[in-house]
């Protein structure tokens, strides 16, 4: 899973969001590293919808235009969790080694 996809799915963890809110939330969660262009977002949303990781949950008309909200599906949530665990395991390779080095000292 690419980092951009990961943060789009992570943005939907706390409930459904529409396109612009996903861009803002993904940026906030990644401390500003992920700045999604609208074109990139909708390519990703199309792929994730086709893959069954997200679905359209609501549609409102705002300023005469349709504004749909997307939510994480069970499959999407599982894929996100699995990837997060992989990242955490990869991070432990470094962080736990650092802890061991500080704890285990020669007598």
């Amino acid at each position: 899973m690419r980092e951009t996809t990961y943060f789009i799915l992570a943005a939907l963890q706390d409930g459904p969001l529409h396109g612009y809110a996903i861009i803002q939330r993904a940026s906030a969660l990644s401390s500003g590293r992920i700045q999604l262009a609208t074109g990139t977002l909708y390519t990703a949303l199309e792929r994730l919808t086709t893959a069954g990781h997200i679905r359209v949950v609501d549609e409102q008309i705002v300023n005469g235009r349709a504004r749909r909200s997307y939510e994480l599906t069970t499959e999407g949530g599982a894929a996100l969790t699995e990837h997060a665990e992989q990242l955490a395991a990869a991070a432990r390779v470094v962080t736990e080694r650092r802890v061991n080095r500080t704890v285990v000292r020669p007598a």
Partner: protein
């Protein structure tokens, strides 16, 4: 509608109608009060991805399958373009004036053309087993047709038919099927007669020997297109590989394999194909989604 809104709306309309155009416009206007090059580029790239099928998520195996299918279709266009040259009506004077009855070669060329066109249609439509059978038959007919000029395997574009048959055979052995319209592939056959290495200059006139320049232009376009879709440079690399095999065959048959200068020329001929493969690899690895 403001000027900014109108400019973004024009770009959003590049998306196919199955995409939520209204919603995309709403989102881009919420994100930007001004028209920015970054958003414009993102919308154009997104729309092109949507229109070319590059927006579909593909795992490594799916990607390899889809890229092989595109490469096979490109090779079939190349093979069919060669068949056009060897079949009617371009070579009518040569057929009529020849004392040793070469009509069978032109007939074989025509049969090869029909079989390769059938292969393009069936492969594009997802009938892989039928296309594998017609590809093998088309390859045999193409070899018979090309043998009119001596050793078939050293002629321009010879390797397109065998490589396509091999790729389609592998694709037919898998369970995956991909379908699309064959129209653009069929329309590409005639331009390919002069744009791909078919030896068209020998038949149409020296002024038509533009295949090397055309391949370089195609390689540059495919490298640029790798920003959108890593499958395209791979398909063009297959065409380059086909040409390279012909050059290697000529060198081997002429006994020039050990010549240092010839090796340099060979490396130069291989360079566009290697760059295309590198562009496809980078594109695949750097894909943001």
């Amino acid at each position: 509608m403001t000027t900014v809104e109108r400019r973004y709306a024009r770009l959003v309309h590049l998306y196919p109608s199955r995409y939520p155009r209204d919603e995309i416009l709403d989102t881009v206007l919420q994100s930007n009060a001004r028209f920015t090059a970054r958003e414009a580029f993102g919308l154009i790239v997104g729309a092109l991805r949507a229109r070319t099928g590059a927006d579909v998520h593909r795992g490594p195996a799916e990607f390899l399958h889809s890229a092989s299918r595109l490469a096979a279709l490109a090779l079939l266009v190349h093979a069919a373009a060669g068949d056009v040259l060897r079949a009617l009506p371009l070579d009518v004077p040569a057929i009529l004036q020849s004392p040793d009855g070469i009509v069978q070669y032109a007939t074989a060329g025509l049969i090869a053309l029909i079989l390769h066109v059938t292969t393009i249609v069936t492969l594009a439509r997802g009938a892989y087993r039928v296309s594998a059978a017609t590809a093998v038959l088309g390859m045999i007919a193409a070899v018979v047709s090309a043998s009119r000029f001596g050793a078939a395997w050293v002629q321009d574009g010879f390797w397109a038919a065998p490589m396509a048959a091999l790729l389609i055979g592998v694709l037919a052995a898998t369970a995956r099927r991909e379908r699309s319209s064959p129209m653009w592939w069929l329309l590409a056959i005639l331009p390919a007669v002069v744009l791909l290495p078919t030896g068209s200059g020998a038949v149409l006139g020296v002024a038509w020997f533009i295949e090397r320049q055309a391949f370089l232009v195609m390689a540059v376009l495919a490298i640029a297109w790798s920003l959108l879709d890593a499958r395209v440079p791979l398909a063009v690399a297959a065409l380059g590989l086909c040409n390279l095999l012909t050059i290697v065959q000529i060198l081997l048959s002429a006994g020039w394999a050990g010549d240092g200068a010839v090796a340099g020329q060979l490396a130069l001929a291989a360079a566009p194909t290697l760059v295309l493969l590198a562009a496809a690899t980078v594109s695949r690895r750097r894909s943001p989604i």
